[in-house]
């Protein structure tokens, strides 16, 4: 019997290698959805807000791929037009978490001492409360709307980004080339920007890629609960929510926008995993 060591099992457990069909499919899905977000007109000529009461609540057909809603609006068209809002909200949320978190992590990692302690205790608190509750508190304070939900979701990401950045800065700043830079008299900000930051980037960006799916889910959840953009404008979460009222008679109303979210999140996570190594390290 051959010796079994962790590496063997781990490599056996690893899913398909790079450029596997799943990865190609994920890339295709993501490219398609990004194109829809940038130029929905390429896929549909219809108006997402144009009501057509004669054709209300029609099941999916050739004319209406995703069927029509209670006002006769084309659901496929609304999902496509909603992509821009949903993806950009998730993107803004991610950017807020990434920028603020990285900045705080840099400060904590370079300042050390009291400042570091204070910032890390703050992240402890942020991580101790479920992120949805934090988002909801922020939404209550700021009010409703797409940008505000982006801020609410972004805030919850700050702690994880700060932790990862800090850990990376601490790891990099003991590297010989950083000490060498200090010794030859390079000023501290320059060392930070030229030597520490570029070498601390990769894991932070990797985590950002892994977070995009979660960010989209959180934004959609807030949209579903009705804290996002008000009704006529299509947004994925609120599309699922508005389909609820007619769900018994029209299964496609909530099902298809929801499937779009699932497909996007799956694709984003799959690609992030490929970029970031198999498991996508968890912050902590």
């Amino acid at each position: 019997m051959s010796a079994v060591d962790t590496a063997d099992i781990a490599s056996a457990a690893r899913t398909r290698k790079r450029y596997a069909p799943g990865l190609v499919l994920s890339a295709a899905v993501l490219v398609l959805i990004l194109t829809a977000a940038i130029a929905p007109g390429l896929f549909t000529r219809q108006d997402p807000l144009a009501a057509d009461p004669i054709h209300r609540l029609e099941p999916p057909s050739r004319a209406h791929l995703f069927g029509t809603d209670e006002l006769g609006r084309d659901l496929y068209c609304r999902v496509l037009h909603g992509a821009a809002l949903s993806l950009s909200t998730a993107g803004i949320a991610l950017a807020i978490g990434l920028l603020c978190g990285t900045l705080l992590g840099l400060i904590a990692g370079t300042a050390r001492g009291r400042v570091d302690d204070l910032l890390m205790r703050a992240t402890d608190v942020l991580l101790a409360i479920p992120s949805l509750l934090v988002s909801l508190a922020v939404v209550t304070a700021l009010g409703f709307g797409a940008t505000k939900t982006a801020v609410a979701v972004g805030v919850t990401g700050i702690a994880s980004f700060a932790r990862i950045t800090r850990a990376e800065v601490l790891r990099v700043s003991v590297a010989p080339y950083v000490e060498a830079a200090h010794v030859v008299g390079v000023r501290r900000p320059t060392v930070l920007m030229r030597h520490v930051l570029p070498n601390a980037w990769a894991p932070v960006l990797g985590f950002a890629a892994v977070s995009f799916g979660a960010s989209l889910l959180a934004v959609s959840t807030l949209g579903f609960l009705g804290y996002g953009t008000p009704p006529p404008t299509p947004e994925w979460g609120s599309l699922v929510a508005s389909g609820r009222s007619y769900f018994a008679e029209a299964w496609w109303l909530s099902t298809l926008p929801g499937l779009t979210i699932v497909a996007t999140v799956l694709a984003a996570n799959r690609i992030a995993r490929a970029l970031h190594g198999e498991d996508g390290r968890l912050p902590r």
Binding site: M1, S2, A3, V4, D5, T6, A7, D8, I9, A10, A12, A13, T15, R16, R121, A122, D124, V125, A128, I129, P130, S131, L132, L133, V134, L136, A137, V138, V139, T140, A141, L142, G143, G213, L217, S220, T221, F224, L225, G226, Y227, G237, V240, A241, G243, R244, F247, A248, W251, S254, T255, G258, L259, I261, V262, V265, L266, N269, R270, D279
Partner: protein
Amino acid sequence: MTRYLLRRLLHAAFVLWAAFTASFGLLYLLPADPVSVMALGGAGGGVPSAAQVAALRRAYGFDRPVPEQYLSRLTAALHGDFGNSVQTGQSVTRLIADALPQTLQLAAAALLLALVGALIVSLATVRTLPLPWLRHAPVPWLGRALRSLPALGVSAPSFWVGLMLIQLFSFRWRLFPAVGDDGLSGLVLPALTLALPTGAILAQVLTRSLVTALGEPYIQTALAAGSGPGRILFRQALRNASIAPLTVAGLLVGELLAGAVTVETVFSRTGIGRATATAVSTQDIPAVQGLVVFGALVCTLVSLVLDLLVPLLDPRIAATAGGSR
């Protein structure tokens, strides 16, 4: 051990205080005028009169200086009083206490489902690994399918999963009621929905730590001693692999509480989650603060209990905790 305990208790108290302070700052200080926010949110719309606003301001103490407001609210909160809900006029503590049993029931059922589900999926996944002593040919596609299950569970928004379950099990097959919170049959679908993301994360962690455990030398020892695959999986691998998932399960209790917000909304159940959604929708500031601090309290208590439990399960941790810390 006493020092460790004391440290953990102090840390928990700090987290709670910070959660209170942060939510106070966010909810009472950040909005330019919390009173008009509350007045507009409550009372079903309509612009409040100046007299109404002034009365509200006095009632909520916004006419007093900020430090005084903070101290009086903190003292009240320490006595378990978070003020009265703007929406109903009921005390927020009462609101939470009334909604709690329903949510506890839901969360407990979901946690149980998540644990059992994660256990089954991870053990099945591990059994598909190409290990010679498992004494059966590995099925690659089955292993791949099992490994992609958790990723799928994490990617599906729970509000959508809930709606899908309602569509299939309530509308199409008429097995369970679609909405409401009566009885065991009404609990099945919401608990399943709530359990899915939690169980998926648990399954990922458990599978990973099972794989690590299976690579340890004690597995070889057990094999050499003649243990069968079942005994090795359950007695050796699973017991050693259970600590990381247990800690994660503790963290996930908070996520169950948060998940209840969407699940209770989808299934129209009463509970903490529904109360939270309503409070946010009506911008009911005292209620939201009470609910957020309550969430922090639950999470802190759970992680405190786990911090005390884990050393009992793994003596190595107790040794380091008692010694160097």
